[in-house]
């Protein structure tokens, strides 16, 4: 169950609207940090799904670039810490 974080760059002023659109994708939570940057968390069932999801984020209106920051790909079982 990979968990990743991304910084998403948008055109000036587009971040809030892009955050909303990106956040509507399944397995994604996002928030706008300022008017051009989003922090996005993705959760997928398998690493094979990561790339497709990130490409969908790239295609959201106003998005200029998607930069992967953190990528955890361990076999994740839900364990209480």
């Amino acid at each position: 169950m990979p968990v990743s974080s991304l910084i998403v760059r948008t055109t000036a002023g587009a971040a809030p609207r892009a955050a909303h659109a990106v956040g509507a994708l399944a397995g994604v939570t996002s928030c706008a940090v300022d008017d051009t940057d989003l922090v996005v968390i993705t959760e997928t069932r398998a690493t094979a799904e990561d790339e497709a999801l990130w490409k969908r984020i790239e295609q959201v209106e106003g998005v200029l670039a998607v930069e992967l920051i953190y990528h955890n790909f361990e076999d994740l079982e839900e364990k209480t810490q």
Partner: protein, 787 residues
């Protein structure tokens, strides 16, 4: 959120990582946040395994496996960023077909063997004909791996037949540096990206090849907007880099030689060159090495007026004038970047010289933001190949085998028999494969590289290789292991200790973090084991002056450690540290000083020369040759090119002419072919094709066409097109209007795909000075095979 599950922890960690990376970049700060992520993983630093940028990676470990990767915000190179390849670096270790045991070819088939059998066989084969055995290595060798191989070959076998695959990527840069400045490697650094007013890329698609550096500039350009830095993309193909460019200047292949001369011609004609800099720091030479005056150099340049160059370069008089405007503006800080577009060139050395000419005439070197900067493609092409000196003519620390004093210094440090190192350079890469084909070499040990895919003109240069004794050390099966007599399974990246040196002279260390799979073992151990077996069998070259093992590894007290035994090598003693400390003693002569190994364990890296300051602290050097930055520049000099062979502290401006390429499109083969890399894959794809995300994003090689050519040929994206040259042919799917657009009359094919070997088609013509082949220009024809 109060984390309650492991998943919650990871989500929280991911958020913190992104916020820290944003903070590190927007504030230029180096946040310590990430080393304390609450995700229950152990995090350790390493440089990225892939390209020459040298990004800092934090590797997340759990239960003896790499399970997470993030950018290291403390890295002065990447500041928390990584590219698509870097983020998946952990997965390169876990492909399903890792090599896990030695194999020996028997009756035509590779069969499982023991380490003892393999080591014994290799030792016997080398001893049978040591002078006809070559070692073909890599810019992906760690410094320890390169050093031990060099000492084994040059000190032990008495053979200079050792050369790396870096010959194929940066040899022209080396000869360019040495002929202009007298010493190798850049004077500038990545900080110049943050301080320049204009970037010019010379045939370099850094958005895909060096993406983190590109992002560093793109961030700055975006943040500053109008009035910020400008970008000129001087290229033969529109790429992702072009999307950021203020000016895209498309030139005819090979005419970069004429364009550089044209800039110089205009600087002198307009009087906008930096006269005081030239008077103090430059001298002029003719192509044959004779001295020239400025006036004579100007006379040479009269063949390169804008009107003349515009006739064949593809650039207009106005575009050529604009380039001269940029370099002639005394207040403008200009950064030139290049990589394979200039180095893989039948006049690769000359074009390197010519770009230095432009910067030297303009006085745009040695100032923050103003420098010519040669990028590299492999993670330690600089650290291992150029600094350690794993080239056929070289010795460590900038020494060469042709200098008696240099050979003696190495022999003395190694306590080798005087005269052990031959004075004649060995076979360079292209000659090495030709020798293997002809039988002049009886065998070869290939480490960390895949020549059966990467050597140009494969039919010719790999002919008969399968009939020779070829040993291949690698982590995965490749097309090269298919022709091997012996295959040795290697440890990869963080499965071993290592040190890399990147493009900006930065040396970066990492510790072993996880065990290699099965029986896979470090390449350093493999060499030590074979060398010691030869010593045990009485091979004289591996005895030092006292009869002891030449490649002995010693602890801090000088006591020998039995590092050829795997259980010792794999124990607590750090062999990599011992090798680094021995090598470090050879780095001072040419002012490439390194700090002690232990200093590199404390931080992401330091740029050499690294010397102690008055307070006893080890201090790196951002810019060489610059007073106040480089400790070897004398007070009052300002700029001092202290490597100058004439001893006059001057760099050389060379009168290098335009020369047409050896093969140009004609009626029979009407297209230029250019080859290269893509964002998702690295070199021959041995690692990146095992990473599902990267393979999924770019599964196969393709042929990229200009839309006008495609329309004329009736080719659509996805159609199968045969690319044929005088040397061979392959069939590829067409890509039109894709990620990049080659100029009309040219095509591009990436070389990562082992199922579609473009090097059956490429030409093996080389730069006669650097011996680096030109993968960027040959003539092909296209035939549509099917829709």
């Amino acid at each position: 959120m109060t984390p309650t599950t492991r998943r919650d922890f990871l989500i929280r960690s991911a958020q913190l990582a992104a916020l820290a990376a944003l903070g590190a970049r927007t504030a230029g700060a180096q946040s310590g946040l990430l080393t304390a992520l609450p995700d229950g993983l152990t995090w350790q630093k390493a440089p990225c395994r892939f390209c020459g940028v040298g990004c800092g990676v934090l590797v997340g470990l759990r239960d003896g496996r790499v399970v997470a990767v993030q950018g290291d915000p403390k890295s002065g190179v990447s500041r928390g960023l990584l590219c698509a390849k870097g983020y998946h670096a952990g997965a390169l270790l876990y492909g399903k077909d890792r090599l896990t045991h030695p194999m020996i070819r028997r009756n035509g088939r590779l069969e499982k063997a023991t380490w003892d059998e393999a080591v014994d066989l290799i030792a016997d084969k080398i001893m049978a004909d040591p002078k006809r055995f070559g070692i073909y290595g890599s810019g992906q060798w760690t410094i320890g791996e390169g050093y031990v191989n060099l000492k084994f070959a040059k000190g032990g076998l008495g053979s200079n037949h050792i050369d790396p695959n870096a010959r194929l990527c940066m040899a022209s840069a080396v000869v360019g540096f040495v002929t202009t400045f007298g010493v190798d490697e850049p004077s500038g650094c990545y900080d110049d990206i943050d301080e320049c007013d204009t970037v010019i890329t010379w045939g370099n698609n850094w958005a895909e090849m060096h993406p983190v550096l590109f992002s560093r500039f793109a961030d700055r350009k975006k943040a500053t907007g109008e009035g910020g830095p400008t970008y000129i993309d001087l290229a033969t193909r529109r790429t992702r880099s072009t999307e950021l460019a203020d000016h895209y200047l498309e030139f005819v292949p090979q005419t970069d030689l004429a364009i550089a001369n044209c800039i110089c011609q205009q600087l002198i004609a307009r009087g906008t060159f930096d006269k005081s800099f030239v008077l103090k720091h430059v001298r002029f030479k003719a192509n044959d090495g004779g001295d020239l005056t400025l006036e004579q150099f100007d006379a040479f340049l009269q063949d390169y007026t804008p009107a003349k160059v515009a006739k064949y370069s593809g650039l207009s008089v106005e575009q050529l004038g604009m380039l001269a405007d940029v370099f002639g503006d005394p207040g403008r800080r200009v950064l030139s970047l290049w990589c394979m577009g200039m180095n893989q060139h039948t006049r690769g050395t000359w074009i390197n010289n010519l770009v230095y000419n432009v910067h030297l005439l303009a006085g745009k070197i040695g100032k923050p933001g103003s420098t010519p900067f040669s990028l590299t493609g492999q993670p330690s092409a600089c650290g291992t190949c150029r600094e350690v000196g794993t080239l056929a003519h070289a010795l460590p620390g900038g020494r060469v085998v042709t200098e008696p004093a240099h050979r003696k210094e190495c022999e003395d440090l190694w306590n080798a028999i005087p005269g052990a190192i031959p004075e004649k350079p060995g076979f360079h890469t292209m000659a090495m494969f030709e020798a293997l084909a002809k039988g002049d070499l009886a065998g070869m040990w290939v480490q960390v590289t895949n020549p059966a895919q990467s050597i140009p003109h494969l039919h010719k240069n790999l002919a008969n290789a399968a009939d020779r004794f070829v040993v291949v050390s690698d982590i995965y099966p490749t097309v090269t292991t298919e022709i091997a007599s012996v295959v040795l399974p290697s440890a990869g990246w963080v499965e071993k200790n290592g040190v890399f040196g990147n493009s900006e002279r930065r040396t970066q260390q990492w510790f072993k973090m996880v065990d290699p799979p099965g029986e896979a073992r470090d390449d350093v151990w493999q060499v030590l084991a074979v060398a010691h077996r030869m010593y045990e069998k009485g091979f004289p070259g591996l005895r030092d002056r006292n009869g002891n093992f030449l490649l002995a590894v010693r602890d801090d007290d000088g006591k020998e450690v039995e590092a050829w035994k795997w259980e010792v090598f794999d124990g607590p003693f750090n062999v990599d540290r011992a090798l680094f400390e021995e090598y470090r003693g050879l780095t001072v002569k040419k002012h490439k000083d390194l700090a002690p190994y232990d200093e590199y364990t404390k931080q992401p890296g330091m740029r050499w020369p690294v010397t102690r300051d008055a307070s006893g602290q080890w201090r790196e050097t951002k810019r060489r040759f610059v007073e106040g930055e480089d400790p070897y520049v004398a007070a009052g000099k300002g700029i001092q090119f202290y490597g100058a062979k004439a001893g006059d502290d001057r760099a050389i401006v060379w009168a290098r002419p335009y020369e047409p390429p050896p093969e140009v499109p004609d009626a029979e083969y009407p297209f230029w072919l250019c080859t290269g890399r893509v964002l998702e894959h690295w070199h021959t794809g041995t690692m990146t094709r095992r990473i599902p995300q990267l393979l999924g994003a770019m599964p196969r090689a393709y042929v990229e066409l200009n839309p006008k050519d495609a329309e004329r040929l009736g080719v659509l994206t996805g159609d199968v097109v045969r690319v044929r040259s005088r040397r061979g042919q392959i069939d590829l799917a067409a890509w039109v209007d894709g990620r990049a657009v080659p100029q009309e009359g040219s095509v591009f094919v990436p070389f990562f795909d082992e199922t579609r070997l473009i090097n059956r088609v490429t030409l093996d013509a080389c730069c006669p000075m650097s011996k680096e082949p030109d993968y960027k220009k040959c003539a092909v024809r296209l035939e549509k095979v099917s829709s």
